[in-house]
């Protein structure tokens, strides 16, 4: 085939008629992208597993039965560095973490492991205040590797063959030999909880979140308590009781930049991890001079020119009431072949 003929034929084949109307929805992509940034590594798996062939916006959070954006209040004086000695003040993060960790220690023991077991994870999410279709994916119990994640699964198996069990890819036996003291647990997470050694507290938080999202059901209660204490030791962590979707939960918040606090939820009733969310705690100034020029406007979105907007327009204005309109709950079921 002559090169120019081929060029022409290729161009003629990919016509608007052949393609039909675009089904690419940028708004949903942005929503999925935001979720995925927050739940980074788990998201790789979810996107790999679920997007193609099924629905595009694979929920990365799980949804509860009903929902509207929720107004929430975080007690002001609860940071990990607060001095708990003074009396009469609300419980500090340090006090709450220790109390909750003690509770978690008496949580349910992990079911015994057997060959070929998988964990089916079902995620019900609320994204931007809207409930989404439940998402589902499976991981192997031993190593938490995606059952059908395409290239990512292959990558995970190679990795597992190289490193053996790590915090990223734990096994029942590995959990049973773990020192659950928070300081040594933190070292274990930093060394093996990320694909490259975890560089900072944000990544440690993410590593713990990913483990719990996929494999909480396999985590021994003493390890879960240890993870709670590790979370409490991270710089900027806050602990508070939160009502999410009508459920009274223990929340651990971790700041992601000036606008967002990432949250992990534990259920006092089951003494297990139950879900995660993100609080919007600040916004940018809503002033005429901060309004960018519209370049393109369509039915679904606008392209804006922000280059003319002054830099201070990106500064964070704390919201009087933080808003929680992205969150979800995870259900995990062990499947024994």
């Amino acid at each position: 085939v002559n090169n120019d003929t081929l060029r022409q034929l290729l161009a003629e084949s990919a016509t608007d008629e052949a393609l039909g109307p675009s089904r690419v929805n940028l708004d949903r992509i942005v929503v999925a992208g935001r979720r995925s940034l927050i739940m980074r590594r788990a998201a790789i798996g979810l996107v790999a597993v679920g997007v193609l062939g099924a629905s595009l916006a694979v929920p990365l959070w799980v949804r509860g039965p009903t929902t509207a954006p929720q107004q929430v209040t975080i007690p002001a004086a609860t940071t990990a560095t607060d001095d708990p000695a003074h009396t009469g003040a609300p419980a500090t993060t340090a006090e709450l973490i220790e109390a909750w960790a003690l509770e978690l220690e008496s949580g349910p023991t992990a079911p015994a492991s057997s060959p070929g077991q998988t964990i089916t994870v079902t995620v019900h999410s609320v994204l931007d205040g809207e409930p989404t279709e439940p998402g589902r994916f499976s991981v192997e119990r031993e190593g938490l590797m995606l059952v059908d994640g395409g290239e990512f699964s292959i990558e995970q198996r190679d990795r597992f063959a190289q490193t053996g069990p790590t915090f990223l890819m734990p096994t029942a036996e590995w959990f049973s030999g773990l020192d659950t003291h928070p300081e040594s647990l933190l070292q274990v997470i930093k060394a093996g909880g990320c694909w490259v050694p975890c560089a900072n507290d944000y990544q440690v938080f993410g590593a713990i979140a990913d483990l719990l999202r996929m494999g909480d059901i396999t985590v021994p209660p003493t390890v879960r308590a240890g993870l709670m204490r590790v979370l409490g030791s991270l710089d900027g962590t806050t602990a508070y009781e939160a009502t999410v979707d009508g459920r009274e939960l223990w929340a651990i918040g971790f700041p992601e930049g000036p606008f967002t606090v990432l949250e992990l939820y534990f259920d006092p009733a089951t003494k297990r991890y139950t879900g995660s969310g993100a609080l919007t705690v600040a916004t940018t100034p809503d002033l005429p001079e901060c309004t960018p020029r519209v370049i393109v406007s369509t039915d679904t979105h606008q392209n804006l020119d922000r280059s003319s907007v002054p830099e201070w327009c990106n500064s964070a204005i704390p919201l009087p009431q933080p808003v929680r309109n992205n969150y979800g709950f995870t259900q995990q079921a062990l499947v024994t072949p």
């Binding site: 085939v1 940028l26 290239e151 606008f259």
Partner: protein, 175 residues
């Protein structure tokens, strides 16, 4: 992403979506799957946007994600039966487009790498070196894939039955 980054992302995506859909369609041969691929690529791009936005040529990076995403998709078991790893012996008959040379069924018979090379080089108009960079192989491998892809197409066209296909086959023999 901060709002400014997100606006940049939207602007870039909006500008690139039509071209991405065409390339994806030529790669996978299915309009719906093409849109799925583009969506997955854009989610991946969103995740890396802050880094990618600083590249001189983010388009090249996006092309690479598209090719790798498509090839991941080929590895999915439920899609595997649709992928012809080798050209079948039987001739091609294209019945519904008698007056036009139907390229898509021919492309479908190419191996994924050969197909990708054709799309990148002759639809995206990339050089051998640019294609090699996207495919993560040597320029020599790109040339080999191109040569074999064109040979495969020729062989199929030799079996083609429609007048236009025959005419093109004749034309090719002269060149």
């Amino acid at each position: 992403l901060r709002r400014t980054d997100e606006d940049d992302f939207r602007a870039f995506a909006t500008a690139r979506i039509p071209a991405m859909r065409r390339s994806a369609y030529l790669l996978c041969g299915d309009a719906h799957l093409a849109d799925d691929l583009v969506s997955v690529v854009l989610i991946k791009l969103y995740r890396r946007w802050r880094r990618v936005a600083s590249f001189d040529h983010p388009e090249a990076y996006v092309r690479r994600i598209l090719v790798t995403t498509w090839r991941d998709e080929l590895r999915r078991p439920w899609r595997r039966e649709q992928v012809a790893a080798a050209i079948p012996d039987r001739p091609m008959y294209d019945t519904d487009q008698s007056d036009r040379f139907a390229l898509m069924p021919l492309l479908a018979r190419l191996t994924p790498k050969r197909r990708a090379v054709l799309v990148l080089r002759f639809f995206e108009d990339l050089s051998v070196e640019q294609t090699a960079n996207i495919m993560r192989c040597s320029p020599g491998t790109v040339k080999t894939h191109t040569h074999r892809a064109l040979a495969d197409l020729r062989e199929q066209i030799a079996h083609a039955k429609t007048p236009v296909q025959v005419a093109i086959a004749d034309l090719e023999e002269q060149t």
